[in-house]
Symmetry: D2
Subunit: 346 residues, 4 copies
């Protein structure tokens, strides 16, 4: 039976995998056991953020050196979900999720499962075909992990594709819009797979429009450095060693301190990793007071958002190593989001 | 005897004083009673932030229309301390401090006093002469308010001058450096006046270098739109009506949630205004983890800082209308800052 | 008969009208003769650029002091067309266009005419009603100037309104999109009035889509600081003193140096002012080579564009005081633009 | 005898070396013949620009696959001089310089020579030891190329090291200042080696201060992705095949169109590559008119500069593939720079 391990590692720049290299060299972790990497690089998080591609290339080179598998094969098997942008209090870091064999039958613990959809070309992004592809990948990842019931899923992290220069066959030729549509479709896919969103409502026309549709267990990033939907599912399953818990709580708005505290309370013990999603409230106001995130020509809304949300979560956690990703379409209530805490059970 | 009143008002853009105009027109506030304005406009907070000048011009025009005094005379009498930058969760707003006559002798309450130094030309910025000028203005403002003892001072807010294109006679020809020196000298002036910094240590060479020297009751902004040091002192004094309290607490670092909570706890009741200062830790790390605020070519360190600090304070206060100003040199421990909460006593 | 005069004045910040004040005080210019102001302030040129509002307020206060008319009345009569953003080689400045009486009958020279449309609320922006309103204002301005024929028009400069937070009745709730629609509708209005665009093709659905429709004599800015379409027409008319020429030439793409040189050649003599429009080529490439203006999360496309176009025009003119405005939808061929040079005839 | 070849290649992102891969695969270029790469990636050109490291890693991996040498050994032998920032009209691209054997003795042509200094740690940056190290590397590169006389050198391109977080032993703990000092020291080194700057004047105290000291044949970039000074020298030498010319001309200020035209005129024929250096005039004005490049909190001075200079050079060349690098300290007159054109002789 497998046992999940989480290593939270720092980096001095987006191509710096030395912390992981040290672990591998010391035999504290086997490269072949690595199931997924979720990390925060110090780019701008937008279309022209190449820190994600740089990190991914460096990671796969390192894993290739240790496993003998070619980098491309590894990239097609190990999801590497990166979000650029460490504004404010945030600190560049990455979480390495591994699953090693462990002799302790009959137990139940936090499990990880991964899956890749078929490549999603630009013309399929934001379409119902992407919704179905993501839903299917979520189910595949659950099956791989042995998570039997949708209610046992704690969080689904997806890296969804985008296109730098979408052509006329795409739903939008504006790559920023396409990026949002990709997140929306992936969130719908997660919601459908988990039963949080009714399949017949997860339509193209509802994407980015019907904000009552959301899954508070979906966390989606989008970027041009992936071509398929890469899915990582966390949840409780038979046959996994106990010892690590995942606490998830919704945030009803950006200032929902209690939501952050609830996620931490739900996973007591040594914190191993924190994931948060949020978005600038589209109404232009938070609790009745105007914010300026959406109309700033010099500072991207997502950079505004990550700096604010990241600082709140980091202040509660007492640690800047928080994975914060903007663009929370259909991943929580409008203007809100979610927080997921991984902790070693006390 | 006077009674301090605080109005926290929103604006739809930096030239929008309509909320104050409504109060004045309705007779809820007399223009002549206004003693100081402290506000947060939605610029970038840097050298080329003209939202502060726009707001000040609009404010003085409005007060002129209501008092009959020329705008220039009002600007030389009513401190208007603005900080640009409402990153993240922050909301553009301004605090109007007024003192109306009030018949209730023998009481003790929160007092306000104001003073302007002589104009400080570029060559005097960051010099010991500026330290002395600010210290003298602090004492004058305390005297005006009737604050007898330095320990009765809660907070000193200063708007210190800068120069857009300092010449060779200035301590630095780099206006950004001069801006920091102006904050440092003003903080030294406050510290000397309050006894928080020994006068003989408040030297030019110690500015921006000896970070053990600070006053946790100093909050300094700097900008090119003022030519003198404008000082506003808050503290407890005889002869002022009770009813408003100021709670001040230091933040030991950017993630010091407890510090923010302490300031709010120190001034229970309906919050009327919040002021916070902080700075990116110059060591490049917070609690041992690297931050990226100081090396971002695209996003100014102060914009990073305000977005993060503002969000933390706003989350605790439950309201984005927080005055957050970066550049906390000598206004708290390195990498830390302060929070001041004004509240109507319950 | 009137004689057009153009003063090109510098400013040290967006509220600095001292150069104009000096001219007025010295009697070199009568405030009542000022017909329009076209200027370049040092903001970011986007939704949150308040340098335009600051300048306008300062200008109208100055004119009010000299004419006795209230600032609001002046703002409703004297078009003040500002474009924010002096990236790169550009220098903040403004052109003051005045028309004084001049006894020299029977001549023909460069004329100026101005007109304001009715206020255009957010829901009318980008609609055919705005097209008609602008076309009518162009005709009114031509009539005022005495410009008899559309072929005598050299340039129509329009400042078109936008909305900071458009509601659901607007064509787009994204204010950036609405800004572009406002420029498109205004360009259509100019094109229709001048016969450059067939009225039946100037439809809502063609805006921002049918890029074959354009007028190379239209130069449109949009901003939240105006509520009506403010129109300034330049052209040749009977009864105006000779002495100033306007040379206009299209730019077929951003690198069209010959186009810039042609505009300067068309108006030989001392240059009094230069106006240029352009846009990032939407194809993502210029002369077959990829540009990165449209996908930069940290630097707005219009800031990219103004820095590049401004430098080219300034290098040819040998002077950074060039009015450059991005967003050239329907104001020239896709990816191209126009240059207009005002010069004192030799 | 060798023959210099220059390939100007485009890339779709900073990790895209497919154009070079195609050439290598087709046998049109031998990987072992590649002597240097000079390229322009689409980052921000500052401390946190990781596009340079991403490109370098990708390049060395590709060359390793074709030569069998390890990437590290290649990186220590083949200078890869990258400048981030393709603002405005600029297009991401790279120049591949190769030298293949060629049987045509007794001729004279454009030669290339390269050299690496010893690693320069942070504490040596901006010191006279760096000046000497660069001067020695320039001489070594000249010797390698067989360039006999300093007057035969057309251009020296240097990539000089910087440090992300310099400690107290460094000349400045501000990495931005250290970056400028590294450029200054490297320019001094080039100037000393070429006889353009007297050795006894190339002192630490003169760096960034005595702007009368410069070499108009030095083009220096600085970045944290290199640890040694990487030097590429171009000049005329015996034993090299003719056919490629380098035209170099100074720019006396940013608007010096004639300077750009002179460089193009000096190397007639098909343009193979263009290199330009410049800087924002520190006086704050160009030809007497204020510019705003140095005081913009939202847009870095070098991004301003590259957008403007790049557009001017691109407009004259008719092609956006121009290597433009800001930070021209001691590489030309204050506020000016240089342009170098490589062309196939007609």
């Amino acid at each position: 039976m497998p046992r999940l391990a989480i290593h939270r590692l720092s980096m001095s720049h987006p191509g710096d995998l030395s912390a992981l290299e040290t672990l591998l060299a010391a035999g504290k972790l086997r490269a072949a056991d690595i199931r997924a990497v979720i990390g925060k690089t110090e780019g701008n998080g937008g279309l022209n953020d190449f820190t994600r591609g740089f990190f991914t290339q460096s990671l796969m080179l390192l894993l290739s050196a240790h496993t003998g598998d070619p980098p491309d094969a590894l990239a097609a098997r190990v999801p590497c979900v990166l979000s650029g942008g460490t504004e404010g209090a945030l600190s560049p870091h990455y979480l390495v999720f591994s699953a090693a064999e462990h002799a302790a039958p009959g137990q139940r613990g936090l499990a990880i499962g991964t899956a890749f959809s078929q490549p999603t070309p630009a013309r399929e992004i934001g379409r119902e075909s992407q919704v179905r592809a993501v839903a299917q990948a979520v189910r595949a990842a659950m099956a791989q992990a042995g998570i039997a019931r949708t209610q046992d899923v704690a969080l689904v992290q997806v890296k969804a594709p985008c296109a730098q220069a979408p052509d006329a066959a795409a739903r939008s030729t504006d790559p920023r819009v396409l990026m949002a549509l990709s997140r929306a479709a992936a969130a719908f896919g997660v919601g459908v797979a988990l039963g949080d969103i009714a399949p017949d409502r997860a339509t193209e026309s509802a994407m980015l429009r019907d904000l009552t549709l959301f899954s508070n267990r979906a966390s989606i990033s989008s970027g041009i450095e992936v071509t398929a939907n890469e899915v990582v599912v966390f949840g409780t399953a038979e046959g996994w060693a106990p010892g690590i818990a995942a606490g998830v709580a919704p945030m009803r708005d950006l200032l929902d301190l209690a939501g952050v505290q609830a996620a931490l309370a739900a996973a007591p013990g040594e914190v191993l990793g924190v994931i948060a999603k949020g978005e600038p409230d589209r109404s232009g106001a938070i609790r009745g007071h105007r914010h300026t995130m959406l109309g700033d020509t010099d500072l991207d809304p997502q950079r505004h958002l990550r700096g604010a949300l990241g600082a709140i979560v980091a202040a509660v956690a007492g640690d800047g190593r928080v994975f914060v990703s903007g663009g929370a379409e259909h991943q929580g209530p409008p203007g809100g989001g979610l927080v997921c805490v991984f902790a070693r059970s006390p």
